[in-house]
């Protein structure tokens, strides 16, 4: 199945802004993070379709996964 992965802030460095990836059913956010060589403790916010998610959450067909380091400001 296909999901879109979006990266933000320094997670983009030497990676990408947005990529559509084919994954097996049951694959978790954590597995994708590991595959991208991002340390789990560096992940500040996980959004799945704009809602807060967690590293152990499995993705579904068509999900948009957005990964952020801790950011703040405003």
């Amino acid at each position: 199945m296909q999901v879109a992965v979006k990266l933000f802030a320094h997670f983009r460095n030497n990676r990408f802004k947005k990529e559509v990836r084919t994954i097996a059913p049951g694959v978790t956010v954590g597995a994708i993070v590991t595959e991208l060589s991002i340390a789990e403790e560096e992940v500040g916010v996980v959004l799945i379709n704009g809602r807060h998610g967690s590293l152990d959450q499995a993705l579904a067909e068509g999900d948009i996964l957005s990964l952020f380091p801790l950011v703040g400001g405003g």
Binding site: V45, V71, G72, G74
Partner: protein, 577 residues
């Protein structure tokens, strides 16, 4: 030398230097400006009349080597909200005040003569000079004129044409170390300064004296722990320094809480083009500076130098709120146009939240098409700067513009425009907008941190549970941080790193020889909120002013299709303390 209160009476152009009354001794920054305004300003007075007073105060830690302690707090009765107002900015003024031993400068009265004045604050007192040559001048010309006359190392607080014209969205500018501008933006304080014919305040540098510290060793140790916390936390030590405050634009867009097209949607198609990540790339490509400190001792450095296409300096202090307001809210996806507007708004001296949000409301009324960046620049240059009837209308803020155009979707609380987080999709910030005595103000209790960014814990932004308590705790903590004169961004590490919060308390204790606990600091924050609310109630506001606009309970915000669903009773519970 004990700190003193400097008082300037613009009615008879005299000044006095006074001892600090006991009741004010434990206050600084916002706590002090609000205490003085509540004590000395008749709440029902006209904000632009002779009975209003404007108070400038450095924070309790200003002038020390505590990192990020250079915020200047300004307070008065607001011509925008009709309530008490405190707005703060970086720049060099607060540290200069502190080194001169000035705990607060109170400017009161109103001159008979129709001429502009400069208040010159010096080691040996204050003098007031006429500056007719600065009439109608922008903030940059004003700052340059003062530097030419009194030396580059002079701190300057000034107003532009918007303040002279007493627009309700006029701000106050504070010169940064390089002659650029930081702004005490909100609530029309520039109009109050303008109503007293004060074009500028020039503060002499006094490098010969230092602020007194009761226990220098303990202070040094605490300051070290504090600075380490700021550098170690990813938000203050990494994200803000690299991408500026616009680092949060993308996360607000992804979370569906980025107010778009005058608060009619929560996501903007052009978000990427106005994001912090894009800004970083543009700055690198054009040889600007991606990080820059707005005052000496700032280790976060969220400011920047943004260059234009010809690689020439265009603006600095280019903030998320500004970029969002003219960007997503007016649907302009061109960062260069927004940067030019930022420079113009600095020069004219108008709040870069209130003005573009007012334009968004006017766009809804048909003044300009959505996304018309050049049209907005033209409005700034030809209408606001020159004070045409249209310029004065837009300079009166979003609420007035909504009335003029017969619009129901007007995003204000207490007549102050909402900033860059839609309360339907970030419910915690909605409680802050509703209850803050300042009107809709994200800085008053930044619940977005815990709702969206997982800082200080996490609370579901789309649910009501825990939001009132969160907003109350953050508003109290913020009032305390504003009183210390610290940059609000120290809250990110302070919320997550206990030693960093403890170091703030330790620095206050070491500076003044006190033995405050963390609870005492929280209690100070709550008491400041009560003082401010007391002023508003005495000015005629009620709990019914603590409400969000009706449309937010009736128009669903895409993409989550959420409504604002707090009852009045639930909001009023905020004040149960």
């Amino acid at each position: 030398m004990a700190d003193r209160i400097y008082r300037v009476n613009m009615s008879d152009l005299t000044s006095t230097i006074e001892d600090v009354p006991e009741a004010w001794a434990g206050h600084g920054g916002r706590g002090l400006t609000s205490t003085i305004v509540a004590a000395e300003v008749e709440p029902t007075c006209h904000p632009l009349g002779k009975h209003n007073k404007i108070v400038f105060a450095p924070g309790l830690l200003a002038g020390t080597y505590a990192a990020n302690s250079g915020r200047l707090n300004v307070g008065a009765k607001s011509p925008l909200t009709g309530g008490i107002k405190e707005s703060n900015a970086g720049g060099t003024a607060a540290q200069f005040f502190a080194r001169l031993g000035i705990k607060a400068l109170i400017v009161e009265g109103k001159p008979e003569k129709d001429v502009l004045y400069c208040i010159n604050v010096k080691k040996d007192g204050v003098d007031i000079s006429e500056v007719p040559e600065l009439k109608g001048k922008g903030n940059f010309d004003t700052i340059n004129a003062i530097m030419a006359k009194q030396g580059e190392n002079t701190a300057v607080i000034s107003i532009g044409p918007a303040g002279e014209m007493k627009m309700a969205a006029a701000n106050i500018s504070v010169k940064d170390p390089e002659g650029h501008i930081r702004s005490a933006g909100r609530g029309g304080l520039g109009a109050v300064m303008g109503s007293k014919n004060v074009k500028c305040i020039a503060i002499e540098a006094d490098d010969s004296s230092e602020v007194q510290i009761h226990d220098p060793e303990a202070f040094k140790a605490a300051a070290k722990v504090f600075a380490k916390g700021l550098i170690d936390h990813p938000v203050s030590g990494q994200g803000l320094r690299t991408y500026g405050t616009a680092v949060v634009l993308n996360i607000m867009n992804e979370a569906g809480g980025l107010p778009t097209r005058n608060f009619s949607a929560g996501q903007f198609e052009g978000a990427e083009k106005i994001s912090g990540e894009h800004m970083f790339d543009v700055i690198e490509e054009r040889g600007g500076k991606t990080s820059h400190a707005c005052h000496k001792g700032c280790v976060i450095q969220c400011s920047q130098h943004y260059h234009d296409k010809d690689k020439k300096f265009l603006t600095s202090g280019f903030e998320y709120e500004t970029i969002w307001a003219m960007g997503a809210d007016c649907e302009v996806d061109n960062l260069d146009q927004i940067a030019e507007a930022d420079h113009l708004m600095d020069d004219i001296g108008i709040d870069s939240i209130e003005f573009p949000v007012a334009v968004g409301v006017a766009m809804e009324g048909g003044l300009l098409p959505w996304g018309d960046g050049p049209g907005i620049l033209k409005l700034l240059k030809e209408d606001v700067a020159k004070g045409t009837p249209l310029g004065r209308l837009l300079g009166s803020g979003a609420a007035v513009v909504g009335k003029a155009y017969g619009i129901t979707r007007v995003p204000v609380v207490k007549n102050q425009a909402m900033p860059a987080y839609d309360p339907r999709a970030v419910k915690g910030i909605g409680i802050t907008y509703a209850t803050s005595p300042m009107g809709a103000d994200h800085t008053a209790g930044y619940a977005t941190a815990t709702n969206i960014m997982n800082v200080g814990g996490s609370i579901d932004p789309l649910k009501k549970e825990g939001q009132v308590e969160l907003s109350r705790n953050l508003q109290a903590a913020t009032a305390a941080i504003d009183s210390a004169g610290l940059c609000l961004f120290v809250a990110f590490p302070a919320l997550d790193i206990p030693e960093c919060f403890g170091a703030i308390v330790d620095m206050l204790n070491a500076r003044f020889g006190l033995s405050l606990t963390g609870d005492d600091v929280g209690a100070l924050g709550l008491s400041i909120l009560k003082t401010e609310r007391g002023f508003n109630l005495a000015a005629g506001m009620t709990n019914k002013d603590d409400r969000l606009p009706e449309f937010m309970a009736e128009e669903q915000l895409p993409p989550h299709n959420v409504l604002w669903d707090f009852t009045g009773e639930e909001i009023d519970a905020f004040w149960d303390f």
